[in-house]
């Protein structure tokens, strides 16, 4: 009997097969259809933007992060998501910088994976929004030749990008500033102007359903966001159709689906408790509608999620589960 090769560990001695890298890489892999759709609509420009943002995120994680932290796959998700919420014509160096900023200031500085308070991809995008307000709101028209660049993607850093591409406003911008509606079918399929990945709602929903089925995504926050936006948007539309678009338009336009499915489900920055996830989702939905209808910006998903991220510790505090053997006592009182 060979006893000296036996190990001794604390119980439990077995473990479920799911691991953090497995969850992260599966989420990253589930973005492939979304990326493919954006390549279909915006051609090679979409891929170049995603590539630049991801490169920025990965390099920063490698340089500043903990040893081997690239393996857990979370920097990959951050990079891909950032790329997906940028316009397809943005210069690549800006996308790269956004990825680097998102990981550096959105994650590493907090202590790495699991410690950050705000979604790193959205931190990167918020930085770009502040630093390059024009570039990040220049929306090229979808379609056209696959290899045709949608903007001055290869502009040198800090040079003024020259852009002679046909631009179009996003459906939300069109409604807000020109009071023009967009057909619902275009919104669902994604044949509208907008960020790289916020165009095809149907593909994002399918990816989200897949992740929820695998158990890698908690459905409570995305569902509560969509329902809240639908109900509140519908209510405001009934009160004042000129100011607020109809509920379906609200749900399927802009970055709502991408944000709800992929960013409001980032386990690190949303509440841990299921009750808290409902609160988070409802809060995000309300903020999205308020910013879109009453704010100066046409789109509010990014700020809505970032603001709710700030409330996450507070929500956690107030939604702690009641311990076994204390609940019935409370009911009896």
């Amino acid at each position: 009997m060979i006893a000296n090769k036996l190990i001794v560990t604390a119980s439990p001695h077995v473990k479920s097969v799911d691991s953090t890298p497995r969850i992260m890489w599966t989420v990253a892999a589930s973005l492939v259809p979304v990326i493919a759709a954006s390549a279909f609509f915006f051609g090679i420009s979409a891929l170049l933007v995603i590539f630049a943002a991801t490169l920025g995120a990965l390099l920063t994680e490698r340089l500043l992060g903990r040893p081997l932290s690239l393996r857990d796959g979370s920097a990959m998700i951050t990079g891909l998501l950032l790329g997906l919420c940028l316009p397809p014509g943005i210069p690549m160096w800006m996308a790269f910088l956004g990825g680097a900023f998102g990981i550096g200031f959105g994650k590493v500085i907090w202590g790495g994976l699991g410690q950050n308070g705000f979604n790193p991809a959205l931190i990167g995008r918020a930085f770009l929004q502040t630093a390059f307000p024009v570039a990040i709101t220049t929306w090229p028209k979808p379609g056209g030749n696959f290899f045709a660049l949608k903007g001055d993607l290869f502009a040198f850093p800090f040079m003024h990008p020259v852009s002679d591409v046909v631009t179009s406003a996003t459906p939300l911008g069109l409604f807000k500033f020109e009071k023009l509606p967009t057909p619902l079918l275009d919104l669902v399929l994604g044949t509208t102007g907008g960020s790289v990945g916020e165009t095809s709602a149907i593909i994002i929903i399918l990816c989200g359903v897949f992740l929820a089925w695998k158990g890698y995504l908690n459905w409570r926050s995305p569902v509560s966001i969509v329902v809240t936006v639908f109900l509140l948007g519908g209510l405001l539309h009934l009160i004042n159709p000129a100011k607020a678009p109809d509920a379906l338009f609200m749900v399927f336009s802009g970055g709502l689906m991408l944000g709800a499915v992929y960013m409001a489900t980032d386990m690190v920055t949303v509440p841990t408790t299921n009750k808290g996830r409902w609160v988070f989702g409802i809060g995000t939905g309300v903020l999205v509608v308020v910013i879109r209808v009453y704010g100066g910006l046409p789109e509010g998903v990014m700020y809505a999620i970032l603001i709710m991220n700030a409330f996450t510790p507070l929500i956690n505090n107030f939604t702690q589960p009641a311990v076994f053997g204390t609940r019935t006592l409370k009911e009896a009182k």
């Binding site: 009997m1 060979i2 006893a3 090769k5 036996l6 190990i7 001794v8 560990t9 604390a10 119980s11 439990p12 001695h13 077995v14 473990k15 479920s16 799911d18 691991s19 953090t20 890298p21 497995r22 969850i23 857990d72 979370s74 790495g112 994976l113 699991g114 410690q115 908690n218 386990m267 690190v268 841990t272 408790t273 299921n274 996830r277 956690n316 702690q320 589960p321 009641a322 311990v323 076994f324 053997g325 204390t326 609940r327 019935t328 006592l329």
Partner: protein
Amino acid sequence: MAFFGFAHGVHPPEEKELTSGLPIRRMPFPDELVLPLRQHAGKPATLCVKVGDKVERGDPIGLADGFMSVPIHASAAGTVTAIDWWPHPDGTMAQAVHIAVDKYAPQVPRPRLVPRWEGLTVDEVVKAVQSAGVVGLGGAAFPTHVKLAPPKDFTVHTLIVNGAECEPYLTSDHRTMVEYPERVHFGCRIMMHTLGVKKAVIGVEKNKPDAIAALERTKPKDLDITIMPLTVKYPQGAEKMLIQSVTGVEVPSGKLPVSVGVVVQNVGSLAAVAEVFDTGLPLIERIVTVTGHGLRRPANLIVPVGTKLKDLLTYCDGITADAAEVIIGGPMMGLSQANLEAPVIKGTTGVVVLASHETRGETVYPCIHCGRCLDACPVFLNPSWLGDLARVKRYDDMAEFHLADCMLCGSCSYVCPSNIPLSQLFQASKVMLRRAQQAGAA
């Protein structure tokens, strides 16, 4: 009776098919037995033999030290060869009596050491159960007679029998119910009489239909015994979970089951009580599931208490080249063994030999607050939060977040994708907290 069920819990692979169809067989006596004096919860037994003494099968070698203690008996005839400190399955050393088994002794039944049950008063039954050394055979080894004599200011209305056996791999209770259902019912009769209850419920997980059928077939006509199929879910066999599944009542936090009028006994303990009164021999052997993908020949065996692990594993043709970890008990709450000289004791439900691919990896990732542990915890704690507190040694804060309610079932560690040893952290924190309280009191 309706099935209520408990919320949360996990579904580890059952792996019971390795042994669930194998009949219980008797293992031959090994050459040497090692009997620790501490085999039960409560005070260890006090030594009553010396080196060189000849003992018969069933003779006491350690006497009960007060009410919260039980005696230890020789599980085979032989000679006491040494009394020393020996590896205990819980990882410590314990005072133990070594007996060289007399190969030519008949090892046959002898004049009764335990009286017949018929005509005994309640107190006499409790005393007989104690003197027979019967403890809970579900793993915790809590003295059975203590549970049979609940404090007088509580009324007990139901006896709940735990036949859930929710730990993966283990089948000793399963085989007991399939092969000795009469014994289970006889034990149930004795306990119902002693507790003065009219109603008993035997809870069995639905993955043991043959056990449920056997118990139904042999159910005595004159007793109100219900056999209740339970959802297959870990930890269904945890005392408070089982009570909720059977009665729908939550045992209040920090209270004993008797506070809601129930007493829970393991099905193996019932069979042991029945056997003790039947044969007149004290508890000197038990049914052990020896199994795992790292073992050559899994089996359900009647093993003399005190058999060393190495003898037991050798009898099962030894461990495979792939074997990585030997566990006493099940893989969720069992104890990993560092020394195969450690003996099988009364609380040993099984010996599981895990193959290397089944063991936990060493890489631990940061907590990503996915919340899976919250969905797994059967007592509704926040293991993620408690784990963060444990790592910065804030034990007092952990107490405020109900660390005392944690029963170390391991569900949180099982589901944690970051492989954080939550259960281990909580166990250590409980010890640190107790030490701090003792230091504060002193």
